[in-house]
């Protein structure tokens, strides 16, 4: 008699999803799946709109990382206009991208994931959230919230608003940085650095506290994909794609991001609205790859800022001799390292005199009929590819989103955690066990509104079904 366990919706992620766990006749975990039940349709309804509107429209894909879509879309626009944007515009866009990283990573770590780590996987679910965290460690929570605020404030200063600013456009940016605002941002740096260091200390304690659970928390080899700078450094705005495997072998080097579609395909499964991107040469599903903080910190040769580079070296030692960290649990650590990098790099950019330049926008009309934009969004590498007619009207849009690219890996993680922690023979699944399965998904900080380019809202509902479809156990949250 086989059973099916459903976790729906998965909580403390950005979007709506459910997890099903299928037990076999011996009550062992046979399969586990991460289903995304959102549908958006941006690729379709942007057809017929104008290129210049695309950054504004596609930034509406997400309320968490709108700046990532904005910048990526504007870069696709630069490509179609065939312009080189002014130096100041590029630096300002870099600043915006890092502010986006910082606010999104702070949200993921402090608001969404740390309640599990600091309060415990088995703690009361009613308080296992940011409010419970505030009650348990007010200062830690406050600092996390303020770190996110710093990122948001940079976005607001640059773009006039925190969410959905239309400030980045094909050809550059719309407004120069007000010199008076530069110091306002710089004043945040000492506090932000201190907060990220607190987060890093917390992460290291978490590694010890959960030492027994971590080895089977999404620990597997996969391809790792991300941007690196021309000389192999951690990159977030430009550069080339590097693809490594789980044994630290370089599979592809210096790949032009504009050719991403030659390397990555998208498979579809009938049980999820989220597609399954894969690395074409290895085919589906063997071409599973991971993107985002874990991939980026793994594949780069160095990080250009000193504090983050020192942490990267510690990170690399986690895997012993292998020199590549394959365990998805360490996404959290990599995310904190990236927060440190973001704070340091924001400081560098603000101290660069070119950031105050006034030449910020290149003008051109349609010079190419196809363009690709690529940046590293908080959750991983993001691609926008547009085809336009000679008047600049979108004929086709392809958006390859970071969370989607982690879909195969998220499913593998769910399977591994379910197999390790769920003992179907007991006939009863505790809420804490199911939370571990969810926590496996949270490692990737998935953003489902992005990746499905939200319909539906459900309370957490877990059902344990027998082969006849009868509910033999049920949990509601």
């Amino acid at each position: 008699m086989s059973k099916l366990i459903t976790i729906s919706p998965v909580t403390r992620i950005e979007g709506h999803a459910k997890i099903t766990i299928q037990l076999d006749e011996n009550n062992d975990v046979a399969d586990a799946r991460f289903h995304v039940n959102e549908f958006r349709g941006f690729e379709k309804f942007t057809e017929g709109r104008l290129l210049w509107e695309m950054p504004g429209i596609t930034s509406r894909i997400c309320g968490i990382c709108p700046a990532s879509h904005l910048v990526t879309s504007a870069k696709a626009g630069d490509d179609i206009l065939a312009v080189e944007i002014p130096e100041t515009a590029e630096k300002l866009r870099r600043l915006l991208t890092l502010a986006q990283w910082l606010q999104s990573h702070a949200l993921s770590f402090f608001h969404l994931s740390s309640p599990d780590f600091l309060l415990g996987f088995d703690s009361n679910p009613a308080t296992r959230n940011i409010f419970g965290l505030v009650a348990a460690d007010k200062e830690f929570a406050r600092r996390g919230i303020r770190l996110r605020k710093f990122g948001q404030e940079i976005i607001e200063i640059l773009g006039g608003r925190r969410i959905h600013t239309p400030w980045t456009v094909p050809g550059g940016v719309r407004e120069a940085l007000d010199p008076a605002k530069k110091d306002q941002m710089l004043n945040w740096i000492p506090e932000a650095k201190e907060t990220v260091k607190l987060a890093l200390d917390a992460v290291k304690k978490i590694h010890k506290k959960f030492a027994k659970e971590i080895p089977e928390f999404g620990n597997f080899r996969s391809l790792l994909v991300g941007l690196v700078s021309e000389d192999g450094g951690l990159e977030y705005y430009d550069g080339y794609l590097r693809i490594k495997d789980g044994n630290d072998n370089t599979i592809a080097e210096a790949v032009d991001p504009k050719k991403y579609f030659e390397f990555f395909g998208e498979a579809v499964e009938p049980w999820s609205y989220l597609k399954f991107p894969y690395y074409k040469p290895l085919d589906y599903p063997e071409g599973m790859y991971r993107v985002g903080p874990l991939a980026r910190v793994n594949i780069c040769d160095y990080i250009e800022t000193p504090l983050a580079e020192a942490e990267r070296k510690i990170f690399k030692k986690l895997s012993g001799k292998l020199n590549v960290v394959n365990n998805s649990f360490y996404y959290h650590y990599a995310r904190c390292i990236e927060m440190l990098f973001a704070v340091e790099k924001i400081e560098m950019l603000l101290n660069d005199p070119a950031i105050l330049g006034e030449n910020i926008r290149s003008q051109a009309s349609i010079n190419r009929l196809e363009g690709v934009g690529c940046t590293e969004a908080p959750r991983g590498v993001l691609f926008h590819r547009y085809n336009v007619n000679k008047d600049g009207v979108i004929q086709n849009a392809d958006l390859l989103i970071a969370t989607a690219q982690n879909n195969l890996a998220m499913n593998r993680t769910v399977q591994q955690i379910a197999a390790r922690f769920i003992d179907g023979k007991k006939g009863k699944i505790t809420e804490g066990i199911l939370n571990r399965v969810e926590a496996g998904i949270r490692c990737y900080d998935p953003c489902l509104s992005c990746s499905t380019h939200a319909l539906g809202q459900m309370p957490l509902h877990v059902e344990l079904l027998n082969a006849a479809g009868e509910i033999i156990d049920e949990i509601r949250r």
Binding site: R49, L50, E53, R60, P166, Q363, S365
Partner: protein
Amino acid sequence: MSVITFTINGEQYSAKEGDTILQVARDNNIPIPTLCYLEGLSTLGACRLCLVEIEGTPKLLPACTTKPTEGMVVKTDTDKLKRYRKMIVELLASEGNHQCAVCVMNGHCELQDLAYEVGLDHVRFPYLFPKKSLDATHKDFVMDRNRCVLCTRCVRVCHEVEAAHVWDIAGRGIDCEIIADLNQPWGTSPSCTSCGKCVNVCPTGALFEKGATIGEMEKERGFIKFIVNARKKHEWVRVAEEDE
């Protein structure tokens, strides 16, 4: 010139012969919402937003085309009028594809301003989501029929001021659309002088400059009045220079 005395909202006002109720109201800072009306262009009474109540008349009449008569009693802000105006804006919203958040005119749009003015917090009618076309064939400008409210300011300014008469209305009823010349792509229009007057008078984001991004399009509408006055009074600066 004879002077007419009449009341608006209980106050007495005088009007010159030929003045409309709207002109008198505007001269005296009495707010009456308008959409198709633009100073300098012919009046049409099409949008019905400037409807007013006139004592002794069962029908509501547009202030932009109605001339006051001696002793007329006009009301501009009754509950009934407010209700009707709100409904008109709701109907406009429901029969077009007005996505303010991602529109080039966001923050500078007359339709958006009207929606705020009449207190439009939701639309009671089902959205029609009509399939409308976008014409980006002109080298400088774009016509997005999704955002057109058929005020015909573009048609009038092109005919009356620029004298090119590029724009017309095709179709009937709810299917009406603004077309260029013989219903052809704007970029192929032989009559268009690319003067941009239609773009500037358009109240919404239906006509805009190519390359404008979200909320970036702003329009200058005062020039129409200047051109028309100058023409009537023969005060053309260029003509004066040539005469010298």
